[in-house]
């Protein structure tokens, strides 16, 4: 087992992708993802990785070239964030529908306008329907580990889907963290060489991406739905195997000090680390509170989530994005989908926090917890609250 080494998270991610022996990297630099692709470009230019680095003119082109490379049978990697992810939007559907197991890391960042380069989840949450596997890292160690695992479960013959590994921009991407990198030999035993199931080959020609007339489109979408839901099994197998080999076990839904908790916080991404520290403080003060985090986001691990919140009476859900003029935060909405109609389901209190990089600290968690406690005592609260917003809520006097 390798030693822990202080390194910038973006660099660790690039090194992890390099250890996976990717054949093609097609990427366009965008803050806060830039260091990932810059470092990969270095690795390729230095001859340490025998790969094609395609410096494209936009993220739309980046994802298009990824689809082409993967269709030709290459192990393909890219990275983006925010506007870049939005610019890839239409090609993301094509990547999943053509079953090209690309791996992409996304350094989550707010969408414009106003222009904002800092972290929230508006980029990922507007791409929920693209048919990709989506998984969240909370820190650099997890991000580096998940990149390696993403290639394995994405390329699994039962799966063959592209994977997004999400990690928070700046607060994770630019942090120097002690990281235990896998060795080349370890990655080699864990991740088999890529053997594409189907590829463009002039000696055995096929057409990928033909028209799907109304008589076929519905069935094609059903096939996409089935394969993404069924990917759950192979993903968990892979996470478990990784844990057995390397001692770091990842679960579709993670919990922290949830035993006997009346109130559970629900978070995703880097904010979970602050939340865990806050839970420790609250527990020390005698509060019965714990934490639940989605690690896997697509396919939605609904059963694991139900199990994780069993016995809780109030969930305080912390969203990093919301749907303007709509139903509030996406994570809270999906939790409602999971729990709707279930007898004794916990009440849900919704918060939207940390928009565009606004810091969320212990005082905010204190407030959220206070409101959740009031709900536990029978109080009613507004549908959702935007944490720290100055000037009060819409409709408030």
């Amino acid at each position: 087992m390798a030693k822990r080494k202080g390194m910038e998270v973006s660099i660790a991610i690039a090194e992890a992708a390099s250890m996976c022996n990717v054949d093609v990297v097609s990427a366009y630099p965008i803050t806060p993802q830039t260091h990932v692709v810059e470092h990969l470009a270095d690795i390729v230019a230095d001859g340490e990785l025998d790969a094609e680095f395609i410096p494209v003119e936009s993220e739309h082109a980046a994802m298009s070239a990824c689809v082409g490379a993967a269709a030709a049978g290459a192990r393909t990697f890219t990275a983006t964030a925010s506007q870049g992810l939005a610019l890839m939007h239409e090609i993301l559907f094509i990547a999943s529908s053509l079953r090209t197991p690309i791996v992409m890391v996304v350094a989550n960042r707010a969408l414009s306008a106003p222009i904002n380069i800092w972290n929230d989840h508006s980029d990922v949450m507007t791409e929920r329907d693209v048919g990709w596997i989506q998984i969240f890292a909370e820190n650099g160690q997890e991000a580096a580990d998940l990149v390696v695992q993403a290639f394995r479960f994405g390329e699994d013959k039962r799966v063959l889907l592209p994977v997004m590994v999400h990690f928070d921009g700046f607060v994770v991407s630019h942090v120097v963290e002690p990281i235990e990198m896998l060795t080349h030999a370890e990655v080699k035993t864990f991740l088999p060489d890529y053997a594409p199931q189907q590829k463009l080959d002039i000696d055995a020609p096929i057409s990928m991406g033909p028209v799907g007339i109304p008589a076929v489109y519905t069935e094609a979408k059903m096939a996409g739905e089935a394969v993404l839901r069924d990917a759950y099994g192979p993903i968990v197998e892979c996470l478990d195997d990784f844990g057995k080999r390397f001692g770091r076990t990842y679960k579709p839904v993670e919990t922290y000090r949830r035993e006997d908790a009346d109130i559970l916080l629900v978070t995703m991404g880097g904010i979970s680390e602050t939340a865990m520290t806050w839970v420790d403080r609250a527990r020390a003060a005698g509060e019965k509170v714990g934490l639940v985090r989605f690690r896997l986001w697509r396919p939605l691990p609904d059963k694991d989530f139900k199990e994780a919140v069993k016995g809780a009476r109030v969930l305080a859900v912390v969203d990093r994005h919301f749907s303007p003029g709509g139903p509030g935060g996406p994570v809270a909405q999906e939790i409602k989908y999971i729990l709707y109609g279930q007898k004794g389901a916990p009440s849900i209190v919704e918060f939207v926090a940390g928009l565009g990089g606004r810091d969320v600290g212990f005082a905010d968690f204190d407030n959220m917890y206070k409101k959740a406690k009031a709900v536990l005592g029978g109080a009613t609260v507004p549908p959702f609250e935007i944490v720290q917003v100055r000037g009060g809520h819409h409709g408030e006097a």
């Binding site: 057409s207 990928m208 991406g209 033909p210 076929v216």
Partner: protein, 99 residues
């Protein structure tokens, strides 16, 4: 489950990523049936330059007649009218399909 490449397959019968596994599927998928108008030639004005054959996006025009005038394969012509625009002698016109 066998893979079906035409007709009304069930979702499990679709090829991986909905790919077409056997080349030449356009031989049986005749794509001319959604045309709403068709090109009509006034051959007396045609100078047999072949420009229309080059510009037809379906590649369905050829100088296939015995007298070497152009002719469109109406099983594949989609009625786009590009040939009409490109023919500089103005000998092609679009005519609405009746039904």
């Amino acid at each position: 489950m066998t893979i079906r490449q035409s007709g009304t397959p069930k979702w499990k019968e679709l090829a991986l990523g909905n790919a077409v596994l056997v080349p030449g599927s356009s031989r049986h998928n005749r794509t001319g049936d959604w045309r709403s108008s068709r090109p009509i030639w006034k051959l007396e004005q045609c100078v047999k330059c072949g420009v229309c054959t080059v510009f037809c996006p379906e590649g369905c025009i050829a100088m296939r007649r015995a007298d070497a005038y152009p002719e469109a394969d109406m099983e594949y012509c989609k009625g786009c009218g590009i040939c009409v625009n490109e023919c500089f002698t103005g000998c092609i016109a679009m005519q609405e399909e009746k039904e």
